[in-house]
Symmetry: C2
Amino acid sequence: MPLPIALDAMGGDFAPELVIKGARRAVDELGLEVTLVGVPELMGDPLGLPVVACTEVIAMDDEPGSSVRKKKDSSLVRCAELVRDGHASAMVSAGNTGATMAAALLRMGRLPGVVRPCIATPIPNPGRAPSTMVDAGANAECTPEMLLQFAQLASAFAGARFSIESPSVGLLSIGEESSKGTPLVKETHELLAQSGLNFFGNVEGRDLIPAPVDVIVTDGFTGNVALKTLEGAFKFIFSTILTALDTDEASRAAGQALMPYLLPHVTTLSPEYQGGAMLLGLKGLCVISHGSSNDTAIMNALRVAAEMDAAGVVAKMALAIRPDQGS
Amino acid sequence: MPLPIALDAMGGDFAPELVIKGARRAVDELGLEVTLVGVPELMGDPLGLPVVACTEVIAMDDEPGSSVRKKKDSSLVRCAELVRDGHASAMVSAGNTGATMAAALLRMGRLPGVVRPCIATPIPNPGRAPSTMVDAGANAECTPEMLLQFAQLASAFAGARFSIESPSVGLLSIGEESSKGTPLVKETHELLAQSGLNFFGNVEGRDLIPAPVDVIVTDGFTGNVALKTLEGAFKFIFSTILTALDTDEASRAAGQALMPYLLPHVTTLSPEYQGGAMLLGLKGLCVISHGSSNDTAIMNALRVAAEMDAAGVVAKMALAIRPDQGS
């Protein structure tokens, strides 16, 4: 039987209530094992789930690095230690993103050869597995060598997680030609072309959804801007449409009639069904759920963590970065 | 009476037919003066509009710099010369974007003090003037000083074009705090804070539409990625919705009933009503229309060019870069 997943019961806008509810649903509906990590006096009813008690909480606005160093008995740090010590298969948090990364990095450590961990975020593709964008914001400044590693990590991840034989990798740029882009992009293009990865070439902003590739590589600044732009565009269009559908009697009736047709697509695009972002390159699994996660989002983040564990993602990433030890 | 606008009759996927049709409509429907620049044997019927004849065409895939240097009698180069020589108030092209920029830069020249021209692209804001994003792709590599100038140029542009007293300026980054982002962004943040511009602070990808500011400043790589991401997201969602509305009899009927409510919003977001991108920082006006421009898009690009001329955008930009000569 797999190890339980360590869930930060204190992290997220709707913690602890909806976080614990999401855990309960993951146990009941998906058959997962979940350990809550939190401060008993602040947690309320754990709904019958096992609890690892701690005494501190890292707040959403705490400075990531120093809070992880100071709050050694915080739920986030204890989650990462449970993974490190072999008591949990993965950690999941909807709390302070920077502190989650710091706790995972400092407690689990990097896989051998990994320069910097990166954040992988799924972008939905209707009808097939999502594309994986790296880096979605962990590293604002990158070198070509870092981007190559992100591509190797994400390729190993996507291959294991979505059973893709040889994931195709696209490099985010401002034109298809290898001559387009910044020096970082041009040098990375050359490294990827020689990497042995299934390199597709450059992709552009308009290719993000649906994407022609399984993995999209970029620096953490551009990746963060692109993902938030996508998020903002979806939010804007859906709210515009909902307003239009609420204009008068006739539009409301027509809108009602259309809901069964539109809802499946809204679901596909909704962050709560994606399960959050993943930290790649560490000696353990860490899923970073959206701060606004409700119980459904938490349940899906736990599902993603369990699937990553079952797929052996960490071992595959270790091999991808150290191919000399692969056979 | 204002000077005519020089229109590249040979540029764009639907040139020359729809380009000339757009010019005719701009004359008939908007009362503008337009001079077509093109190769008479390739142009077909000029629909009664004045023509400046040339002998060459720069193709969509020609290398920008060298094609402008070699094809001195091309429609693009001749358009730029008409502006330079005081025979036209502005140039408009839906052709090769890089060559349009190169022709405008080489023939019109930069305003005094301008290091590099930049591309300004409007992002619609429902119910109020669009926001102006600079740089939308002219300069993949930027310095903080360049970004400051882009902000000054775009602020002068937005002030004149949309009659905004003191346009607010946002810096695109990955967090609201001034400590977030790349060194380029952090240094630019300091320059903008001291610039005398109406600096709002950082904005994120999710703030692009609708935007809390009148001007959004970023480097040409990030700007290009963000705008194409926005474009791709809109295209994807609209095609997803149209597919959903076409599922069966019931959805088609409901979809028909909703069209009058949805169409105004589609129009607001459609590139053909925005009039294209503008080159800022030169001694003349240049509007770069989308390659796929139809006659409506061309008519709107001509309208934008005329409005920029009427607003005295070039003079305002000159003052913004050389404030010592402003009073």
